[in-house]
């Protein structure tokens, strides 16, 4: 069943940001969210994470509406669903290990200390994201890419079955972009990933959902969704699309704008 959105609408200050969007993710698969800036990708992820209350429709986890308000419900939800936001900041002087250990908060209760299993989960999360050697470094001394990976490690420490990622490849060099998306695919999670790079989306996502102005304009397998017409319509950019391999993974080459 996993996590899904059913005709979700969300407006802020009278503006409709997300407009009757339905999302269904095959359990264990990776769904890519595409769309230009301001198309509602981040807002949709926040709705799926239960951080915003839909003004219409519903977000469901295993068929149960996500309410987001009740304390007990929230904790259980956070043990299932983890979110990596685009950019986060803190005034607190934390080490990387302490940031990752925050992922154990939903498992710990208000007062308990980190248990042995908690430490093991944190160590494994650091390991998987290639951050183990930075565990004792201060968060404030990290580069943008390292911060992104530390946040991913924190999300993994929540031991989620659903993982929501908002442009996780921002700030990452190309090697780490590929590593991160390969890791997300490898993990036994259902993932929803907002991405800007269409080629990465085509290569690493099982399905794509394209948003424009808060609405779904296309959904399905990368090979069927990513067409030159769609790219022109949604992004206003001309491109040539060729199949990359025998699975038909589309490869997109952008063309300079018409003079």
């Amino acid at each position: 069943m996993s996590l899904r959105a059913q005709d979700v609408t969300w407006s802020a200050d009278g503006r409709v940001i997300v407009d009757r969007v339905s999302v269904r993710v095959e359990p264990g698969s990776t769904l890519g969210l595409l769309g230009p800036n301001g198309s509602g990708k981040s807002s949709l992820l926040r709705l799926l994470a239960g951080l915003r209350k839909p003004t219409g429709g519903a977000v469901l986890l295993d068929g149960v509406t996500v309410t987001g308000s009740a304390a007990r419900g929230r904790r259980g939800f956070a043990r299932r669903v983890a979110l990596v936001e685009q950019q986060v900041s803190t005034e607190v002087d934390l080490t990387v290990a302490e940031v990752v250990a925050l992922g154990r908060v939903p498992h710990r209760g208000g007062w308990g200390a980190l248990s042995e299993p908690d430490h093991a989960v944190v160590a494994q999360a650091l390991d998987r994201t290639g951050m183990a050697h930075l565990a004792r470094r201060r968060w404030h001394s990290l580069s943008g890419g390292e911060r992104q990976r530390a946040q991913l490690a924190r999300a993994l420490a929540q031991e989620p079955r659903e993982l929501l990622l908002d442009e996780p490849t921002n700030h990452l060099d190309i090697a780490h972009q590929l590593d991160l998306l390969a890791l997300v695919r490898r993990l036994p999670v259902t993932a929803v990933v907002a991405l800007h790079d269409l080629n990465l989306a085509a290569a690493y996502c099982d399905d794509l959902l394209v948003l424009a102005a808060g609405r779904v304009v296309a959904a399905g397998a990368p090979a069927t969704v990513l067409t030159a017409d769609l790219v022109r319509e949604v992004y206003g950019v001309r491109c040539v699309i060729t199949p990359l391999d025998d699975r038909g993974t589309p490869h997109i080459r952008f063309l300079p704008p018409d003079q």
Partner: protein
Amino acid sequence: MRAGVLLAVGIPALIASLAVATAIGPADLSPGDVAEVVRARLGFGDTGLSRIAQGIVWDLRLPRTLLAAVCGAGLAVCGAVLQSVLRNPLADPFLLGISAGASTGAVAVVVLGLGVGTLGLTAGAFLGAAVAFGVVVALAAVAGGGPGRVVLAGVAATQLFSAVTSYVVITSADAEQTRGVLFWLLGSLSRARWGDVGVAAAVCAVAIAVCLARANDLDAFAFGADAAASLGVAVRPLRATLLGVTALLTATLVAVAGAIGFVGLVLPHAARLLVGPGHRAALPVTALLGALLLVWVDTLARTAAAPLEVPAGVVTALVGVPAFAVLLARRRAAV
């Protein structure tokens, strides 16, 4: 565990400090005498000390020293919790208009004679603090909530109530009253009575217990309210609970001892420098540091310029700032 070691050393040090600080003063007493009086009063055996010596220990000095410890611990923990919940390293217990409201309440009783006979200065101050906090909550709610709005509302309420206090003092108070009000505004433990100690200690214990019970959830606020919510923290109820609890504790402490500054702003940072930012370790250490500091600050306040008393708030800053500077410098060297 560093925090464990600190507490294991610090709690006996605090108990010893209470005894030593109580013994210090004009009458010739030793910490052993203090222990003896306490034992006798609690019903374990007799004491060979004179009634006067017993009176000095039990009626004058001990409530004062204990109140200093309670105020120090309470104000420091309030500061730590507010800094985390409001995500503002400059937050202190007086940010939410509480001290300004308390001073208005106290001035209304002392200078204007409002409610004389029914309200003492302590009750007046508490009432003023409660009204001010109510104003802050209402203002913040009108402005749409959120930590930023709470801080702005607190600043506005502080200005408003300070202005009312100044106006009343300038237009109505005589020189004697002005001096009394000023002394109280700067914070002083000289009015400590057993009744105050009991109430303050009870409120302090409950408030600190509530905050400790949510220590891990407080950690989750490091990256903001959304991050805390996505870690399973029910943000709004928790924020309301913690703001309410710290406001109640601050109002109680300000009502009995005036607005003793510095403790709530700086000691949380000192504790974090010592044991890291995790609230499970930092909150108890913050409380311990606050209690220790204020016990010695008050001892200094009543002895340094004896028989004159220096307001505790003045001494906290004079002693605390250099100590904090040393800590900051050592920390920088360590990184």
